[in-house]
């Protein structure tokens, strides 16, 4: 194993420490669980490295865990970003529709490009590509809402979506190219994955490096002065 392969793991440890410091587990519990799981998965893979069968088992179990947590994190991001936007009933349908679209795209792709995997590993790989599609849909959809409805981008859910979105976009691109070029693309695929994931973790670190201001009414908040209140009432009266 080369030393550069540990870069994403080291960055994940930094991210996890930052998430604990910012108490993100209270705001985005699934993302916190994802980061903790990623650190644990890296440690497990490192321990199992060199032992063929345990490593094989650890790899696929952790991949399945990544798939499941990836979906939960995307659900959390959609709920946090769109929850306060509107009370329309169909907002609750957005995530299931995105999920179905992602699974559909992944199955369609599996039909076009036959996989060498079989059994449970095949389903995990299909699930992984479905998660990538869901991540790109959620990220690109949220980013589209920034110029369209003026949604604020500098908030934690956007940071999470950006990291996943960038990584998923690059991975989908390399997956398409991998099917075009075959095994000669394998080395580049490994490096691209490493760099893209490191950049994604750096994006998360950047977003979570700034504390997010609480927007709930604080008991320490000072009441407006009587002068302010009078001015406010006058302004409202002029508006009516």
């Amino acid at each position: 194993m080369k030393i550069v392969e540990f870069i994403p793991s080291c960055l994940l440890v930094v991210l996890l420490a930052l998430l604990v410091r910012r108490r993100v587990y209270a705001v985005l519990p699934y993302f916190f669980a994802y980061a903790a799981f990623a650190v644990g998965a890296d440690v497990a893979r490192f321990i199992a490295h060199g032992h063929r069968h345990p490593y094989y088992l650890t790899y696929w179990v952790t991949e399945a865990g990544y798939d499941l947590l990836g979906i939960l994190v995307m659900y959390e991001v959609v709920r946090a970003a769109l929850g306060s936007l509107t009370r329309a009933w169909w907002v609750r349908l957005i995530f299931p529709v995105v999920l179905v679209a992602g699974i559909g795209m992944s199955i369609a792709r599996a039909n076009v490009v036959p996989s060498r995997l079989s059994g449970i590993e095949f389903y995990i790989a299909v699930g992984e590509i479905a998660v990538r599609f869901v991540e790109v849909f959620v990220f690109a959809g949220l980013v589209t809402l920034v110029p369209v409805v003026g949604l604020r981008w500098r908030q934690y859910p956007f940071g999470v979506a950006t990291g996943f979105g960038l990584y998923a976009t690059v991975m989908l691109l390399t997956t398409i190219k991998f099917s075009d070029f075959g095994t000669t693309f394998k080395l580049l695929w490994g490096w691209t994955s490493l760099v893209a994931y490191s950049v994604a973790v750096l994006i998360w670190i950047w977003f979570f490096s700034v504390p997010q201001k609480k927007e709930i009414p604080s008991p320490e908040l000072s009441a407006p002065s009587p002068g302010d209140l009078k001015q406010y009432k006058d302004a409202l009266r002029r508006m009516r």
């Binding site: 950006t162 407006p224 302004a235």
Partner: protein, 193 residues
């Protein structure tokens, strides 16, 4: 083949979104301060909007005018409401940018007011976007093709957002956010919004 093309389109959408986020990060936060708000607002006549969305007025038009005359009148009313929603959307954009900049203030009271202002402004933008799409679609279809004319009062709500009520709430939130302005400027804000 279709799934490959779709995958490429999704990847392109993701790549464009990455570029857009990079641009946002590069530009940091909008620099719109209190001086860059009032001169940039377009007045919105809410009483005119109310009259355009009034079902009683609409029924009166339908009964009084002949079908051809009613179609023409209705298209004019649609164009007028489109202009009002454009102005609402523009004003909401200006206020979103102001609130975004204001959220970096150290004063928690200002941050709270900016959050309330931004929430309402985003709702107005969402309403305006959906209503504009609907109106443009209706206007795109030539009135002669339509056997019936769209019912304008249906535009009052979009995505369960009451447009006029939300815009009125936005004005209230703006008055609260700009309460420290000198009285003449506050007066100008209330007239321009």
């Amino acid at each position: 083949m279709f799934s490959i093309i779709l995958t490429w389109l999704i990847v392109a959408w993701g790549a464009l979104s990455c570029i857009y986020m990079l641009r946002c990060a590069w530009r940091r936060f909008p620099k719109r301060d209190v001086d860059d708000v009032i001169p940039f607002l377009y007045p919105v006549d809410l009483s005119l909007a109310e009259s355009l969305l009034d079902p009683a007025a609409e029924f009166q038009f339908r009964w009084k005018l002949r079908p051809q005359q009613f179609r023409e009148a209705q298209r004019k009313r649609m164009r007028l409401y489109l202009e009002l929603t454009r102005r609402m959307a523009h004003n909401a954009t200006v206020l979103v940018e102001y609130a975004d900049a204001e959220k970096h203030s150290q004063d928690p009271h200002r941050v709270k007011l900016a959050s309330a202002l931004q929430e309402k402004a985003v709702e107005v933008r969402l309403y305006a976007m959906l209503t504009k799409c609907k109106l443009r679609f209706w206007l795109l279809l030539r009135s002669e093709i339509l056997t019936f004319m769209p019912f304008l009062p249906h535009l009052r709500t979009a995505c369960e957002i009451d447009g006029l009520q939300t815009y009125s709430d936005l004005k209230t939130a703006a008055a609260a956010a700009f309460v420290r302005l000198p009285p003449d400027e506050l007066d100008l804000l209330t007239r321009n919004l």
